[in-house]
């Protein structure tokens, strides 16, 4: 056991830190929030050129071939830096294609993803906002050799600029909700797909995506007909973990900013950081961050080693969701009124924390999974 960052991981962290310091000041982050596209193509390309999009893609597909653990460390720094752009959904979708796509799909998509030539996103939630299989009802009806897709997905990150959607549909109403789910990698330019950006607190371009008799072929399928649920579950797991890593990075930024502010801000003749009430809150913030960090790291390590870790992932997401919101809430409050203004970094992280808590599963969804995994039996 050695929980230090490896040399490669230290390089990854420094690469992102240096890049963010140089190219992604918070003023730009806030500007891009107001921008219709929501990210800078230049920055997207530069991140790709640093090899970050292809971090965990094997070198035979043009990636760096690093581990999932390395990817986790990378996204922790991305979360700390708050770099705008569809990095997370692209990477998570790429790992699904890598693990479960047919060779043709891998060969045609992964190199372009690693180069930053393709933007992917994940179309998961629907009108009831349910993460599990029960929430997947966008219908894919077989017609000839193809499928006709009808329905609406919500909160699809950056769908308005994405090239491909990893899409979960229902092809059959089986005995259980998990039976009858089919996955597709759909080209967003397919006739019948329309996208509209929903204004959200996180200002992260979450979209409503409508499918009006969209025709997808068998070649677009990922996995077999009605066999998508295990692949989707795995995808949700990876996404949840990477989101946790991003959140840990955001907490780090928030704790640092708040501690530093409290050393400078003077009221009643003393720096406010000398007052015990605030000191205790900051101690609690630090503890929340550290526990989130190691809970996430252990689950990510298990994922990286291909150990079954569904329980650990859900524990991490359920815990980190709440921890990130807690840390950022107090980050804002310890800044006083100024913490609520647009110019303050803590306010940015506060909004991001709320946006993070429903992506790849909200707290109660994951707690229910944990309840199952820890052996609390439902009556038959």
């Amino acid at each position: 056991m050695d929980l230090r960052y490896s040399e490669e991981q230290k390089i990854l962290r420094n690469t992102v830190r240096e890049f963010a310091k140089r190219r992604v000041p918070k003023t730009l982050v806030r500007e891009l929030e107001e921008d219709a596209k929501g990210f800078s193509t230049d920055i997207w390309k530069e991140v790709a050129n640093l090899g970050l999009l292809g971090c965990a893609i094997p070198s035979c597909y043009g990636g760096v071939g690093a581990s999932f653990m390395d990817l986790t460390v990378l996204f922790e720094e991305m979360g700390r830096a708050c770099i705008p752009g569809p990095f997370l959904p692209t990477v998570v979708a790429s790992l699904t294609i890598l693990d479960d796509g047919i060779e043709e799909a891998k060969a045609s998509l992964l190199p372009d993803i690693a180069q930053g030539e393709l933007i992917l996103t994940i179309a998961a939630l629907e009108s009831e906002g349910i993460t599990g299989a029960k929430g997947i009802n966008v219908k894919a009806t077989p017609k000839g050799g193809n499928f006709t897709v009808r329905g609406t997905k919500f909160f699809v990150e950056m769908a308005h600029v994405a090239d491909r959607l990893l899409l979960a549909t229902r092809t059959t109403n089986g005995k259980s909700a998990e039976d009858g789910i089919t996955l597709f990698v759909a080209n967003t330019r397919t006739h019948g797909i329309s996208t509209e950006v929903i204004p959200t607190m996180g200002m992260d371009k979450l979209c409503e995506v409508r499918f009006d008799d969209v025709i997808l072929s068998r070649q677009d399928m990922l996995g077999g007909t009605d066999e998508g649920w295990p692949i989707w579950q795995k995808s949700l797991e990876r996404g949840a973990l990477i989101k946790c890593a991003e959140s840990v990075g955001g907490m780090q930024a928030c704790v640092e900013t708040t501690v530093n502010y409290s050393k400078d801000r003077v009221q009643y003749g003393n720096p406010i950081g000398s007052y015990q009430a605030l000191q205790h809150i900051m101690a609690d913030m630090w503890i929340s961050m550290q526990t989130s960090r190691y809970l996430t790291y252990e689950a990510a390590w298990m994922e990286s080693e291909r150990m079954p870790c569904a329980k650990e992932v859900s524990m991490a997401k359920a815990y980190v969701n709440e921890a990130y919101k807690y840390v950022t809430k107090w980050g804002v409050r310890l800044h006083g009124a100024i913490g609520t203004t647009r110019e303050q970094d803590v306010a940015l992280y506060y909004r991001k924390a709320k946006a993070a808590d429903t992506v790849f599963g909200g707290t109660d969804y994951h707690r229910d999974l944990v309840a199952d995994k820890m052996g609390l039996l439902r009556d038959s």
Partner: protein, 393 residues
């Protein structure tokens, strides 16, 4: 970043769990937690039996230097603590083994090491800690018990309190004022005291539920050899700080929580209320899994601290963080468990008590949030020494 244990560590872990499973079969009825160790002759006898079994295997001196019989590392110590914690097995003197032995190794004279270490490793001697006083709890440095030099002896006068197991101890260690003129922090010496020395009186202090763990210890002109000082005279505060930092990771307590959680899950599966099992109740599922996530978070934070300890890199902040978090989770778990048990949560160990009344005991247990440095003080440590926040003027 690697969470894997080595082959040797996995084998040691297997041995630790195997030994604890065997010893669990001998556990007397109603035995639960540290309170029980010193609580009755039967319980204390069980603790001593476990101690002898561990001593036979060399497990009480695991991470001592090889020249003193040590065969493992701090990671083995942590794995051993986890096994004992999970099965709630006594046998490792928290004071002699976990605190005094490493202090002796760092600060003891050769004579003291030769005299005291073997009996710690063999479990022949039981130890207690002589720290707090009625007017010196969190602010230990303001203590007033004196140890005044007279030739090659120290004459000790004063009162110590919260001395765990003092009524069963052969030896004690503590800090006393040896220089009445020097300023705070520079006037203390760290001593070891034979508890059978004339002039020492031990009186029980009972918990709210009547359990006997703590004692007041009175010193009335007690003669202690001056060579019983560890480190240098009047530099006892430095020694104290080292001692207080040992075994901070607390993996045993976390594993005990995990075990109790497992038993609680089984209880919820087996117990019905209003036609349904408790395990079906969405509120119970949500709250239990929330705490389960927190216990897991404590476990992974503990691993990070053990990892730092293995390279001597654990800071005051790291130690304080795990102490606060783990103890607070423990209180939340006890609170939730007694909620789930409903009115039966208040029942003492008896034919009526669910889960052997363990939660009735645990609910009244404030040890981990107050003892070993109250959590509020730990948060000060995190803020001042960890985050570098300024001291109030």
């Amino acid at each position: 970043m690697d969470f894997a244990l080595t082959g040797e560590q996995l084998e040691m872990k297997r041995q630790f769990y195997e030994a604890c499973i065997e010893l669990e079969k001998l556990k007397p009825e109603g035995f639960a937690g540290l309170e029980s160790w010193y609580g009755s002759d039967e319980y204390f006898g069980y603790h001593r039996h476990c101690a002898k079994e561990f001593a036979k295997r060399g497990w009480l001196s695991l991470n001592w230097p090889p020249e003193y019989g040590g065969t493992g590392t701090i990671i083995d110590v942590a794995l051993f603590a986890e096994a004992r914690g999970y099965h709630d097995i006594p046998g490792v003197d928290p004071f002699g083994v976990r605190m005094l032995a490493p202090t002796l190794l760092a600060f003891g004279s050769d004579e003291l090491k030769r005299k005291l270490l073997p009996a710690i490793a063999s479990a022949e001697a039981t130890w207690c800690q002589l720290w707090s006083e009625p007017d010196a709890g969190s602010d230990l440095a303001s203590l007033t018990a004196t140890a005044v030099r007279k030739g090659d002896e120290l004459i000790v006068n004063g009162q110590k309190t919260w001395t765990t197991g003092g009524h069963k101890a052969d030896w004690g260690f503590g800090v006393f004022k040896t220089d009445l003129g020097a300023p705070k922090h520079r006037n203390l010496s760290f001593l070891v005291v034979d508890m059978k020395t004339p002039g020492i009186t031990v009186e029980p202090i009972l918990f709210m539920d009547g359990a006997h763990l703590y004692n007041a210890v009175y010193f009335d002109d007690v003669h202690v050899p001056a060579k019983n000082i560890l480190g240098r005279e009047n530099e006892g505060w430095k020694v104290f700080n080292l001692t207080a930092g040992f075994e901070r990771s607390g993996g045993g307590e976390i594993m005990r929580m995990q075990c109790m959680l497992h038993d609680l899950v089984a209880y919820c599966n087996e117990t019905r209320r209003d036609g349904k099992s408790l395990a079906c109740d969405p509120l119970i599922r949500n709250r239990l899994s929330q705490v389960a996530c927190e216990v897991e978070a404590a476990r992974t934070l503990c691993l990070s601290v053990v990892d730092l300890q293995s390279r001597n890199e654990m800071s005051l902040m790291d130690a304080a963080g795990i102490k606060v978090f783990s103890s607070e989770v423990g209180q939340r778990l006890a609170s939730l468990a007694t909620d789930i048990l409903g009115p039966f949560g208040q029942v003492k160990f008896s034919k009526w008590s669910p889960l052997s009344g363990v939660w009735e005991k645990e609910y009244q247990n404030f040890m981990r949030v107050i003892a070993g440095g109250a959590n509020e003080v730990q948060k000060n440590i995190i803020a001042l020494y960890g985050l570098g926040l300024p001291k109030a003027k």
